[in-house]
C-alpha cells in the first residue's frame, strides 16, 4: 500500500459509470489504479472517449467516482476542493472578460477572502512569473490565445496549491505557441515544484512534459499502460530532437496502438 500522504493523487479501483443500471449506461472509467507522487508530472493520454478528462474531473471533484478510492493530497477530492489544494486550467482559458487580466488572476484569492492589497500583490507576482506584467490592466480579449492561457495558468497557481490539474490547456494553440507554452510550463514547474496531472492527446507533448505517461483506451475507459519518460529534469529544445525523446514517443505510440512492442522501444531509451 502506498502512503497516501506522500502522494499527490492516489486512485485505487476507481470506476465511473454514467446512467448505471439504466438505458445508455456508459462505463467511462474502469478499475483505475494510479499514483502521482508529490512533485511528479504525469500526463493522461488516449483517444477521445477514453475517460482521461473524466479521470481528471474525478480528481477535481467536479464529478464523483461511482466506486473506488480517490485520494488527493492525502484527503478526499471533496476536501481537496474545499481546501483549494489544487488549481485547475482548461482548454479554454475561461477568463472573465469584464475583469482585467490582473483581476482574473485575483479571482481565486477573492473567493478565499484575501484582502485587496494582498490579492493585488500576489497577482502581480504571478503575472511576472508568466511574463505578462505589462498586460496586468488589459482586458482578456486584447491578448492572444497563448497569452490568455498563461493568464489561466497564473490564476490556477494563485492560491499556491500543491497540485495542478490541466485539461488540454494548450489544445487550442498553434504548434509554435504550444511548444513555447510547454517550455514555460516546465520552467514554472521547476520554480514551484508543483505536482501536475496533465490531460493531452498529443504524444510529443506528453513525452516532453512528463515523468510518466499514463496511456488510456476507450470503451470502457481504462489504463492500458504507464510509460516512464527518463529524460531528466532539465529539458529544452534540444531534448525534442534527441534519440531518447524519439524512443519515448515511439514507446507511447506503440502503447496507444496496444502493441507489446512498446516494451522494446522503451528498452531503447537511454541506450545510446
Amino acid at each position: 500500500m502506498t502512503d497516501a500522504t506522500q502522494t499527490a493523487v492516489l486512485a485505487e479501483g476507481v470506476w465511473k459509470i454514467f446512467n448505471e443500471g439504466q438505458l445508455g449506461e456508459v462505463t467511462a472509467l474502469q478499475d483505475i489504479d494510479m499514483t502521482v507522487q508529490t512533485g511528479e508530472f504525469v500526463s493522461l493520454i488516449g483517444p477521445s472517449g477514453c475517460g482521461k478528462s473524466t479521470l481528471l474531473r474525478v480528481i477535481a471533484d467536479l464529478t464523483e467516482a461511482t466506486r473506488g478510492e480517490m485520494t488527493v493530497a492525502g484527503v478526499t477530492p471533496h476536501e481537496a476542493r474545499q481546501k483549494q489544494l489544487y488549481g485547475m486550467a482548461f482548454q479554454q482559458a475561461a477568463l472573465f472578460e469584464w475583469r482585467t487580466v490582473r483581476r482574473n488572476v485575483e479571482l481565486p484569492l477573492e473567493l478565499m477572502g484575501w484582502s485587496k492589497d494582498k490579492r493585488r500583490e500576489r497577482a502581480l507576482e504571478l503575472l511576472e512569473m508568466v511574463q505578462l506584467s505589462d498586460f496586468a490592466e488589459h482586458r482578456p480579449w486584447q491578448l492572444s490565445g497563448g497569452m490568455q492561457q498563461r493568464v489561466a495558468i497564473a490564476r490556477s497557481l494563485a492560491v499556491d496549491p500543491p497540485l495542478l490539474l490541466m485539461d488540454e490547456p494548450f489544445g487550442a494553440l498553434d504548434e509554435m505557441t504550444r511548444e513555447r507554452m510547454q517550455n514555460e510550463l516546465l520552467r514554472i514547474r521547476r520554480e514551484t515544484g508543483k505536482s501536475i496531472v496533465f490531460v493531452t492527446h498529443s504524444i510529443p507533448e506528453a513525452v516532453y512534459l512528463s515523468d510518466r505517461v499514463v496511456v488510456m483506451s476507450p470503451r470502457p475507459g481504462r489504463i492500458t499502460d504507464i510509460v516512464p519518460v527518463p529524460l531528466g529534469a532539465d529539458r529544452d529544445e534540444d531534448t525534442r530532437e534527441s534519440d531518447d525523446f524519439f524512443h519515448a514517443v515511439t514507446a507511447v505510440r506503440e502503447a496507444l496502438r496496444g502493441r507489446v512492442g512498446g516494451a522494446e522501444a522503451r528498452a531503447r531509451i537511454g541506450e545510446v
Binding site: F90, A94, W98, L111, L165
Partner: protein
Amino acid sequence: MTDRLRFIWPPILIGVLVLAAWQAIVVVQDIQPYLLPAPSLIAQNFFGDVSLMWGTAIYTATTAFLGLVLGTIVGVIMAFLAQRFIVVNNLITPLAAGLAAVPIIALTPILNNMFSITSRTPRVLVTMIIVFFPMLVNVTRGLVQVQPVQLELMRSMNAKPRTVLRILRVPNAIPFFFTGLKIAAPLSVIAALVAEYFGGPQEGLGSRIASSAANTAYGRAWAYVVAAIITGLVFYLVTIALERWTTPWADRSRSA
C-alpha cells in the same frame, strides 16, 4: 476624427436632400397640407412654440420613463427568480410569451376603466407591461447563458451558488440587460404615446397629435410627430450612453 466625419456626413447629406426634395415636391405640385405638409410648415409649427413642444414631450416622456423603470425592475426580478427556480422559469416562460402575444395597447381602454382615466396610471401600466417582456427574456438569458467551463472553474474554486451569481452570472447578464433596454426604451415612448389615444389627460404627444389632426392643424400634428421622434431617439441614446459607461469591457464588440 476624419473617420468619424466620414460616418456622420452621408446621413446628414441624405437627410438634407430628402427634406429639400420633399419641400420642392410640395411647392411645385401644390400638395395640400392634409395630404402632406411641407417641411417648412412643420418647422414653423415646431419652432413656433418650442416651450409647448417641450412640455408636451416631457409629459409623455415622464409616462414612458415611469413605465420603463417599473417594467425593468419587475422584469429583472422575475429573471432572477427564473434563473434560481426552475419551477418559476417553467411558469414564467409561457406566461411571458402569452403576454407578448396580447395586443397590449388594446388593453388601454380596459385599464382606463379599472384605474382612474384621469390619472397617468393606466398608461404607465401599459408601458410597463410592454417593457417587461424584452427585459425578462434578455436578462434571463444573460444569467443562464454562461460558459460551462466558467461554471466548472467556479466549482473547482469551491464557489457557492450565491457567489457564482455575484461573480459570474450578474456581470455576464449586464450586456444582455442593455440589449433588452435598447429594445425597451424606444418601445416605452411608443407605448406611452399610443396609450394616450384612448382618452384621459390631454397634455401628452399622443393626445395632441390626435387633436391637431382632428382640428385640421396638420402642420402642428406633424410637429408633434417630430417631437415624438426626438423623444424616442433621446431614450435610445441615453441607453447607449449608459451602456458604454457601465460596460467598458464590451468595447471590442462596439469598435468592431
